[in-house]
Amino acid sequence: SQTIHQWPATLVQPVGSPLSLECTVEGTSNPNLYWYRQAAGRGLQLLFYSVGIGQISSEVPQNLSASRPQDRQFILSSKKLLLSDSGFYLCAWRGNLYGYTFGSGTRLTVV
């Protein structure tokens, strides 16, 4: 069966520090992968999606970047975090008609 792993679950980082969030998928090959963010009291905003290794599409201009070094690995990064980067980050994998399967999320607090 397919599973999606996302870590860490929580993270507190100072402003200006780097960020690396990792997401891996098991049980499938060449998945479409997505990074979403839920800011406090807001909906789910699509940040990046990837249809294959090295293929990244960005949906909104921001302080973040994404990379897909392996077929089932998707990484969200920042060189210097801003306070506004705080939020709940979700990785997702596209399955069948039932849309996405989400990871358990990472709560990022930038202080």
Binding site: A9, Y34, Q45, L90, G103, S104
Partner: protein
């Protein structure tokens, strides 16, 4: 430009009664609609979906209705239970290379015992 909107940020319902969550969209190219349920500090989980060629889909206590002419869909939960208390997201899919889902802002449902 929000293509999927959930205009009610919160809804409070008594246990046993019906909960109706609404969602409006603007993009006529959406071909599939989904509802997700999200508990705090967890990822959203799939609840129910409907194809754009249908107007109703039912799964147990959950029914989704689609009105294409009005570009409106709704999720009915009956009877509502305290465990249904969560944030519900409406999502719409575009059948393109990325197969992206566009999410609404969510509605927080509180079911009171």
């Amino acid at each position: 430009d929000q293509q999927v909107k959930q205009n009610s940020p919160s809804l409070s319902v008594q246990e046993g009664r019906i909960s109706i969550l609404n969602c409006d969209y603007t993009n006529s190219m959406f071909d599939y609609f989904l509802w997700y349920k999200k508990y705090p500090a967890e990822g959203p989980t799939f609840l129910i979906s409907i194809s754009s060629i249908k107007d109703k889909n039912e799964d147990g206590r959950f029914t989704v209705f689609l009105n294409k002419s009005a570009k409106h869909l709704s999720l009915h939960i009956v009877p509502s239970q305290p465990g249904d208390s969560a944030v519900y997201f409406c999502a719409a899919r575009t059948d393109n290379a990325g197969n992206m889902l566009t999410f609404g802002g969510g509605t927080r449902l509180m079911v009171k015992p």
